[in-house]
Amino acid sequence: MTRRLILLLPLIGFLVLSLFLYQGLSLNPFHRESALMARDFPEFNLPTLEDPERRVDRSLLQTGELTLVNVWGEWCPECKREMPQLLDLADRGIRMVGVNWKDTREKGLGFLEDFGNPFETNIFDPDNELGFELGVFGAPETFLVDRDGIIRYHHTGYISASDVREHILPEVQKWQ
């Protein structure tokens, strides 16, 4: 009898493998961990959106304060939709830094005028210099940088009000 049962082993193995692969089909490939997790925020040297004469670098993220870095562009509709949530986060006293990505200065400044400006500073990155270092593949993307300038959390895509409650605020609390 046990010999017969052994014959079922390949079938069981096949079913287990199928189940494993099948649940992989429902995973969203865009929800993957950033390659920069637990690494230093990359080096950069870029002007700010507000003032072309003022250049900023990594020390902007090493001030001893936890910071949310949001990559946005005027051309990006989801960035407009998530602005109320970002303003709410800024109201809660969280330091926000923007990266104006693949944009023009004029359009970027217009965007902030129209949709509000939760950012302490906006890094101006029209040629995807910092964006490439961060591995950004589409705006909006948001990085949580801890007090020592290390990337602790990464959010790809639009931040909804429930994302703020369920993901962003707990992560902020965790790394505060």
Partner: protein, 157 residues
């Protein structure tokens, strides 16, 4: 009439080809055929981070274009293929490699096919050996007597 229609279709096709060209992937000229080959194989083996299963040489997504530019500049800069791949993985993660590396996390992925072939081979060997042993086993006294009887019966009939 038919001629006009044909000419119109031809004209529209040309127009469409023109617009397609505008968004398409840039053509790069290389003096060195080895460099060209390396560029081709690198851009074919790196996966576009934002597309649904496209290599960066096949995708007109902005991020793919930026990645191709980096590959090109790094090649011209004399960097090794390995360095260029590492550079991309450091930024975009293992996701961009069409051939995942052999490491702890991908051990099952690479090991499973070889493991299954090995297990199958061992199984077959075991079964064959068991059968051979069974047929070569010595007969017990009782079995020998029965065999004898059967043979003798065949002879007498």
């Amino acid at each position: 009439m038919a001629v006009i229609r044909l000419a119109l279709i031809g004209f529209l096709t040309l127009l469409m080809a023109g617009t397609l060209q505008a968004g398409a992937i840039e053509v790069r000229e290389f003096d060195d055929p080895v460099m060209e080959q390396r560029y081709r194989s690198l851009t074919a083996s790196l996966r576009c981070p934002t597309c649904e299963n496209q290599a960066i040489n096949d995708s007109d997504a902005p991020v793919s274009r930026d990645m191709r530019n980096h590959v090109y500049m790094m090649l011209m800069d004399g960097r090794a293929d390995m360095e260029i791949r590492d550079f991309m993985v450091e930024r975009f993660g293992n996701y961009v490699l069409y051939n995942p590396r052999l490491e702890g996390r991908t051990f099952l992925l690479w090991g499973l096919p070889a493991g299954l072939v090995l297990a199958g081979g061992v199984l077959v060997a075991l079964v064959v050996r068991a059968r051979r042993n069974a047929s070569a086993r010595e007969l017990s006294a009782e079995e020998r007597a029965r065999l004898e009887a059967l043979i003798n019966r065949g002879r007498t009939e």
